[in-house]
Symmetry: C2
Subunit: 304 residues, 2 copies
Amino acid sequence: MSTNGKRPRYEEDSDETEASTPSSNGSVRQPQSNSQGLPSRLEPTIFGIFPTSDFTKQVGDFLYQNIDREYVEIEAKLGRLIDTRTRERIQLDVACETIVSPQRRNLKFESNMTEAQHKHFNEILNNRVVATKPPYQGVPLEYKHIFETDRVYQRNNCKVRVTTNTKTGQIVNGGIVEKVRIAVLNVHSPNTYLDYRITVNSEKPVEMPTGQHVHERNKDRLSYTHQLFKVDLTQVKGPEKSRNVDGTMPPQDLSHELEVEFINPQILIEEKNKLTQQQHNRYVNIVENFLNNIRCLAKEAQIP
Amino acid sequence: MSTNGKRPRYEEDSDETEASTPSSNGSVRQPQSNSQGLPSRLEPTIFGIFPTSDFTKQVGDFLYQNIDREYVEIEAKLGRLIDTRTRERIQLDVACETIVSPQRRNLKFESNMTEAQHKHFNEILNNRVVATKPPYQGVPLEYKHIFETDRVYQRNNCKVRVTTNTKTGQIVNGGIVEKVRIAVLNVHSPNTYLDYRITVNSEKPVEMPTGQHVHERNKDRLSYTHQLFKVDLTQVKGPEKSRNVDGTMPPQDLSHELEVEFINPQILIEEKNKLTQQQHNRYVNIVENFLNNIRCLAKEAQIP
């Protein structure tokens, strides 16, 4: 992440893109000659179309191939892609955000960040909640604070997760699921301090498992919602441990996570189906919206 | 370049992006709640902005740092990035179009393609010329056929290029330049059959050099122009060679090139200056327009 004094800060469009600036000639566009100056409106390309970004297309294809199931979960988590040989962040000879080849070996993803990074995300998200209250004209960012406990049971080859309200101990609505990972896509982002991973899971409701759980996570979560997505900023604690021999308490395992998740994946599946049937659809628009949300967050990651 | 039967073909916006679809409520947008369905309009992100694509930002920064000179040439050439150790196209463990790190070693760029690829580009560009004639409402793609000869002279440490009209032998307007490469940025595109390289050169007018030229290229070029760019599709022949001992003619060196070049780089420099002075500018818009043109062409590259 080189910082160079000569790097400019670009304006970021708050809403409409430059290319769609309405013509000053009214509804009928006049052709503009290939003159020396900058035309008031640039056509998308010589072929008159905007090419779909290759990055977006690959993510779109990945989701297209994996989301079509009843109990699907689609999310993108911030974290770091680690080369398991060096235990350092991966080096790929690339200079921009890129999708890592699924064939890449010796790779793992750590969906974790420092407490200071987590605190910064908390601040900017809370600031945005405040900034989008009335009289703000757009869609507000809303949030709630959730305390939940996940307990994971091993059942045959599957994992069953039971989620309870930490305070009441009651199982939350839809809180018993068999969770299976369907597919992952790793994105390396050398110009931000965090990478991200897009994951498709199946979360099928099942009966309450018997026996003892094998794993426990206590989640202190701020869940922010906006249009199609929720942004979950979570501090995860492991179970309380036994006292040390000297009577002191060992530190609990602690991790900090941030993820962007489709609130209702069925919306994307419906657009996918329209795409398959060659009907007008907003599939790519939604995929880009998903990516732009995780990208805005990745850019905000502070130095660890 | 895996081809997978389950990959969909996305609609490509011919003009305005989905995000800028006008609200059906008229000029004042009503906030839309975070409901279950797909809102008629998706806000750019939870932060209300479109993040500049990291790819575009890196190219924008690269040009920002290199273009500010009087006799600048800015171009993107199609070709193949070759690993000089394997003499094959590079492998980078990435799954989408990406900028190669300037630190990458053992790399060279071949600005060449097969005759069949060249022929296909010729066809689609000619088709577009026809399609953009009246009554087409937009900006026409125009072209001319050029026969020119470049002769390169070595002068101290510099190369001087003298360009003549091949038929008349006359030096073309601005045809004597000292050409110096300022900087290059390599883009690997694993999902298309060709990569591309963005190059910034200085082409300073100089006096006619004396002595003998060291290199000659005969160019048969179709030069297509559209708004800010020209697309040069060129067949390059080396000089005629001496007859073989048996009286036959050896084949001439032949290469096929395609490049997208700023017709007037000063336009980008002016936008850069506005950016530096934090005035409203269209710098990023122009950089994306440049990239989208070379991308549309890269996508059209046929199997070699």
